[in-house]
Subunit: 222 residues, 2 copies
Amino acid sequence: MLREGGYAVASDARVQEKASIPDIVIGRLPVYLRTLRLLADDGREVTSSQELGEHLGISSAQIRKDLSHFGEFGKQGTGYNIDFLCQQLQKILNVDRIWPVILVGAGSLGTAIANYQEFESSGFRIVAVMDEDPQKIGKPIGQGLQIGDFADLGRSVADSGAQIAVMAVPAHAAQRVANELVEAGLNSILCYAPITLSAPSHVRVEYIDPVVHFQHMTYYLR
Amino acid sequence: MLREGGYAVASDARVQEKASIPDIVIGRLPVYLRTLRLLADDGREVTSSQELGEHLGISSAQIRKDLSHFGEFGKQGTGYNIDFLCQQLQKILNVDRIWPVILVGAGSLGTAIANYQEFESSGFRIVAVMDEDPQKIGKPIGQGLQIGDFADLGRSVADSGAQIAVMAVPAHAAQRVANELVEAGLNSILCYAPITLSAPSHVRVEYIDPVVHFQHMTYYLR
């Protein structure tokens, strides 16, 4: 069974623009893409909605229905060509390119995110890591970056053309940082702080909070 | 608008046991609890479904409906007593206690998770951090812990009574590690590796993958 865990506050304007396809379907596409790429890495060339469904714990009918919003990707009886479906999903999700991402917060979590190896192959590159702590500014981080001064955010956005930011800052600083990100023109924020942000409707915010997942799991425990 | 981002493969058995309440409702309760606790930290004593709804970007009707599965927590016109509702949600989510958690993987991300300060106040304590790397085993990590040998997992589970594990290991190791966690008797896994795990139906797995969130956001970008 595929279950929804995290949550996001989305742009009304953008949702209307693509209103025909439920957002919950869009949320599953990256998981399909990730799974197909792992199959491709294993040298596989063809798969089926049945196989994907068994792997992901959802019904093959759901997968076929989700994909049918975007076209015909497989033939009855022959299944999906994995490379082709990967390419199509990358196009649909707009990750047939590299998106620059600005990371705010160079603490323990920010350092882990800066070191994460999976972004570049998935369509993302952290182009700047910013912090307010003078002890951190100027130090090396991640793959050949140097921690920048968060006060220079505007220039960093202008230089990189970034639309996406990741926030790895404490909860008490998160709303203020988010306000500055929005002010600087960023419109997509992934927030690791355990807080729900206020943001204008053109800004999409998604959240990662391990406590939300833990507490969801303990509901079912005794 | 409250949107669902992550996903989880859940135990069929446990779902049936509590089948009357949709899992998607359970997934929102930790967010309500987090928000109420932030209001309490601000010295607030009473709130309303309207205020919570505006803060979280969902309708007040949805919040009232979600909470009504568990009883009557507020009165028309007077709203919710924040402390009382927090206590009730903690009971419902079984976090009116501290759950021991075993963390596997003491790399950059594992170190960040071990250092995270929010677990204890939310009902969780990381009681062991385990790795297979002899270079890491024995080194201090987190709050007064020492990295243990993953080979000693069984003893660690027996000593702590842990049911919950967090995996901060690379994708290529994740399935093998998950198999050992299940073998050792753990039944709830939060997986940070970018992979969908195979697990028996009595094991609940939830996932955190920033790429899934990024790719969800870029669908709406141009």
